[in-house]
Assembly symmetry: C2
Homo-oligomer: 362 residues x 2
């Protein structure tokens, strides 16, 4: 931690990894299948990606972590030489895998691609992530559905802690960091207990899991406020799977440092674009002859060179270039927003930055 | 025409347009909907595209030539400042349009997108192409099916000549070139007559239409051999819609200068790649752990940076990056091949270049 905002929980930090440093708060573009959809690594650098996220479940299923391991790990395979974070596979096993069966030992499930049967345990997840060779690994956790009751969530959270201890013990490499994942659903008491237990185990960083799964925003921000004070100040804090630009600013305000979400990339492919004035749907007929850039305040390659009219045409024609340009712009927006947040924290004006940010969109 | 090969019909040439010069023989990447699929203009420049082709029919249907005209023409709309050739719309009207009805006056048809009724005549085609603002326009022609008999093809060819004269008369702008299109199917006598009639009308360049529509290669090369001697030496000769790398070399050998084809771009998206050793299907399991580049003799961005194993993974995972990388490589291959052909002609060694080219793939 380099600096802390005097009026809020916002922190300026730096994470050192074998593949470079990450200034936080940081947004991590999602590269599910060893590629951030529609982007080359050069373009990822242009929009100032510091670290990308890859999905363990997807890469385990195809092309297989052992193949990737033989091809030089994820860095060698996909040709990205910056930091990479891999999730544990847990979330996708529960959301994509079929016939999922959860026991203390681990989880059996069927591949969503070919129905083949698989087993992932904390030890297996770490072995996969070590083969992938990410800079930051995540503990294998259970993500109970948002509708689960207190009793279920409590038992699940306690098992996630035991799994976290097993992940720690299963590590064979010392060049990869390992983050614990706080669970506990919407229950403050369980979230606090989970955070305490993981803190006592002592991880390189801490994440909030099981958020952005349908709960109200107030619950999500409440969980952040509950957990932040329990987690060590000198370790990165990561909220998994969020969110909108507004969510990110609110999470930074509450003391969180790292984020990942498919929203900028997936929404881009659906024509939904983030701008300084809010979101914009490029399909809209009003843009048919609009010569202005997507976001007049944006200095990205797309906004410097192309009109809304051309972007609308590309989208309506189903052209790959639409996905490319929209993804490029949206990632640039998210990553610039985090850069601005870092500058604001460094200059002791994060609260006014946050206020201005929300005023401009109201 | 700058130089002529002593042993064959191959010619080195230069075409001057308001948006720059084109060294011939030249391949024109196809940008059907005002974008060469998956490529930015910067990447088109990197792979040394000198001119691109856009499809009048598609742009007339969506977003409409009048809109494009108001947005600064195709150059302004898509942000490409190099030369552009537009086809006449004829071929697509016949191949994509529904309920096509052909009369001397012009053609009525229904849009393949929404079934709306349209009419294109020689005059309408020129007006559309003038709104698009291409550097080279093509005459509106009828493309009879490859199965049409002599009587039909003769009448059709004669109408195409009358249409060509009408196109010439319909021009309002003097900054766009106009090429005539030789028709006549597989009948040498009709092809020769068509070429003569168009030559007598006096166009800026001449194209062979109605090839690569299912006829045998011998017929295609025969038509080239029939027409080349009839066409003026000092004007560009364009074979529309071909072809494989082998077709291009054979057409250059027979005195043709310009080519366009969706093969490098469309096949790229289907995983079929052109290399110095012939074609390669990246889906093939043999490439699963192949660390070598697509084409060890290629110096393109993709071959310099990525393995066949990664490209195979991207393709199998259905990633946009697969289409991007494969398209980039295939266009680089086609455009480099034409560059090598130009060098060979300039250095008086085209025949040995052609021999080597075919020997390496046998």
């Amino acid at each position: 931690m380099i600096a802390k905002d005097k009026d809020s929980g916002a922190r300026l930090g730096c994470i050192a990894t074998p593949h470079g440093k990450i200034a936080t708060p940081a947004f991590m573009p999602v590269g599910t299948q060893a590629t951030v959809k529609a982007m080359t690594r050069e373009e990822l650098r242009e929009v100032k990606s510091q670290i990308i996220l890859a999905n363990t479940y997807h890469l385990y299923i195809r092309p297989g972590h052992e193949l990737i391991g033989r091809m030089g790990g994820l860095h060698g395979f996909m040709g990205w030489d910056g930091p990479i974070l891999t999730d544990s596979g847990g979330f996708q096993v529960f959301s994509l895998g079929d016939l999922c069966r959860i026991r203390e030992e681990g989880v059996t499930f069927q591949s969503h691609l070919d129905g083949s049967r698989h087993f992932i345990s904390p030890e297996v997840s770490i072995a996969i992530q070590e083969a992938l060779g990410s800079d930051i690994m995540m503990c294998f956790d259970e993500c109970p559905p948002s509708t689960a009751d207190y009793g279920y969530v409590k038992k699940s959270m306690e098992m996630t802690t035991r799994w976290a201890a097993r992940c720690m013990k299963a590590r064979r490499r010392d060049d990869q960091a390992l983050f614990g994942i706080v669970q506990g659903g919407r229950f403050d008491e369980l979230r606090k207990e989970s955070a305490r237990q993981l803190r006592d185990l002592g991880f390189d960083g801490y994440a909030l899991g099981g958020l952005s799964v349908g709960e109200e925003k107030a619950v999500m921000f409440g969980v952040m406020e509950t957990c932040a004070p329990v987690l060590p100040e000198d370790r990165p804090r990561y909220v998994m799977g969020i969110g909108t630009p507004e969510d990110l600013i609110e999470a930074v305000y509450r003391g969180f440092d790292m984020f990942d979400c498919v929203m900028p990339t997936r929404n881009a492919r659906n024509g939904m674009l983030f701008t300084s004035g809010g979101t914009l749907n490029i399909k809209n007929a009003r843009y048919a002859e609009d010569r202005s850039p997507l976001d007049p305040e944006c200095d990205c390659y797309v906004c410097r060179n192309y009109s809304r009219a051309y972007l609308r045409h590309l989208y309506r024609a189903g052209e790959i270039l639409a996905s490319r340009f929209n993804t490029y712009h949206n990632l640039h927006y998210y990553l610039s927003l985090m850069e601005q947040a870092r500058e604001a924290i460094a200059e002791g004006r994060f609260s006014s930055f946050r206020r201005d940010f929300f005023e401009r969109r109201s």
